[in-house]
Subunit: 376 residues, 2 copies
Amino acid sequence: MDSLDNVIRRSGADAYVAFGSSQNADIRYLTRFRTEDPFAYIKKPGEKGFMVIGQMEYERAIKESIAAVMTRGEAGLLDIIKDEPLKHRAYARMIANLTGPRIILPASFPYGIGHELESLCEVTLDPGSVETTRAIKSDEEIDKIRSVQAATDIAMERAISLVKASRPIKGVLHHDNHPVTSEQVRSLIHKTLMDYGCHAIDTIVTCGKDTALPHALGSGPLMESEPIVIDTFPADDMTGYFTDMTRTVVKGEPSVELLEMYNAVRDAHDLGMTLVKHGALGSSVHQAVVDLFAEKGYGTNTSGFTHNLGHGVGLEVHEQPTLGPAGGALTTGNVVTVEPGLYYRDIGGVRLENTGAVTTKGFDSFTQFPREFILR
Amino acid sequence: MDSLDNVIRRSGADAYVAFGSSQNADIRYLTRFRTEDPFAYIKKPGEKGFMVIGQMEYERAIKESIAAVMTRGEAGLLDIIKDEPLKHRAYARMIANLTGPRIILPASFPYGIGHELESLCEVTLDPGSVETTRAIKSDEEIDKIRSVQAATDIAMERAISLVKASRPIKGVLHHDNHPVTSEQVRSLIHKTLMDYGCHAIDTIVTCGKDTALPHALGSGPLMESEPIVIDTFPADDMTGYFTDMTRTVVKGEPSVELLEMYNAVRDAHDLGMTLVKHGALGSSVHQAVVDLFAEKGYGTNTSGFTHNLGHGVGLEVHEQPTLGPAGGALTTGNVVTVEPGLYYRDIGGVRLENTGAVTTKGFDSFTQFPREFILR
């Protein structure tokens, strides 16, 4: 990665060092290796970065990782731990032996090893170069996210078809003589995603007043004429790339307030997607939506539009850039959500969310599934 | 948590501070809160620990977390970021304002914030108190792991039944006129787990020579008379607790070498489970299995028994304690795997793995599913 070489050279360091499992998106990005167990990654300018892992993972790493691979034995760790039982100290000594006297560490580096390294090397902090690099996706990465979204469109279609096919009995939606529940809709989405090699946890399926809590998970039977918010953020099992999608529907007749809220959110969604393009400021796009809501009488305090308009999506479900007050200029290759929402404790919530790429022409939505509020 | 209070008091600190998402098992343990987004957790002796999170998560956190909850606004972060745009610096200032002058940080604490805190507070490193505390499970935690394992037993039963019901055509196992594949068995396990509110990724289903790579994932058709290793490590969606389970089967007639290997692994599995109990050394239990294998002519070098006998299981799939050369005394409340294996490049691999609790009486296996090698 040329940009990481520049960061290392600019800081005067001999090497960049990261440490973590593939749950750490920077590590995943630098190595493309999947493992539950944390490992060290070391990159010197002009050389291929390498990872230090256990013997058991060695062959798989050679096959699957884009980094070079060294075993803990080859890296000297097994000798070091003989006289240094404290793991963070042993790792610091191993790293210092491999890097040279000046190193640069990311902000997410574990403090235990990092603090120990300060007594062995000259340490500089990198506040987030890899995170910044990750925010601009290659065509290959964009294809990967587009493909997770394609699976997500199908899963959402099945979920909404189930709600559509339901019939109310005393206000509770029923299908095949059973109440349709949040859990059932969530499970249908998760199983459909699985058929496409993707997985989601914590998909939101809320109904009624619960929809006013943007992060509530939802449980129990779904109700007639009440808002139903379905928000899922799956990742591809193999690539680790996320996408993020929300639809709000109602089966039956929404109240006038709810219908007006939906129309405002739909207009805000259109406006956001129209304004996103290379060069636009994330803060301005967000503000335009705030203004649109204000015009229609919806505030942005503790109720109303209470969150940012959107966020970057990639190896993390929330990453750079930001469509919110702190958002800078958007760039070709950013992948972002556009997700306006309105939340009122006494009515409920409405949110619509697409994920797509920022281009010079505008917002290239990966989400193709239509918006349809009232299901007949 | 009394033990954390002791750690804080012993170090002379005013507060313990952690920072991470619920993917960090310590954070998950201290708060029982699930979120993708990292947050600060602060604990003062004699007081309830509290977490600092965004407004959007506030109500859910109040409901779901065992920690007290403060919004970023209440914690002063929103004011601090007005004149400190660098996130790790802003967080350090916020934390220092909330803690008092002396703090203790876990080894996993992010280096960016930790390094910054060194200029604001007196910082002590805690190498792993919470990890150590987590290694001894309460009855409630044991019930949670037992329940994930019960679901895993069912998923394994379905997977093995599918292999059992298959018939070979030209050496390839078939069911319903289609080849039975690794992917199909993996998907069956994952979907079954989902029905029980659990999820697994990267379940290993290998066949033939691939089984000699303990961490290969496996793909393609399963073969007659070849070893099939199925290793799954699911977690409960809600509680986050893992379990870990492996079975090795063959459909058809195994070679004599393979059958002898299986019998040795089964005997080692029995021996390991017999020796695990309160007070036993993890290193001794491991060594006893090494010795058993050696007696039967199986070494422990780059082939043979190449890994540790077992590991702790909880909010991480691999955690303390260790059944291996570095393992100390086992304690009532530890939950561990017992998973001997043998791996030879020219024959394949065999592994058997149960998860259970350490008690004064011995190993209380959560895994109830029987071992059956040759499927008729």
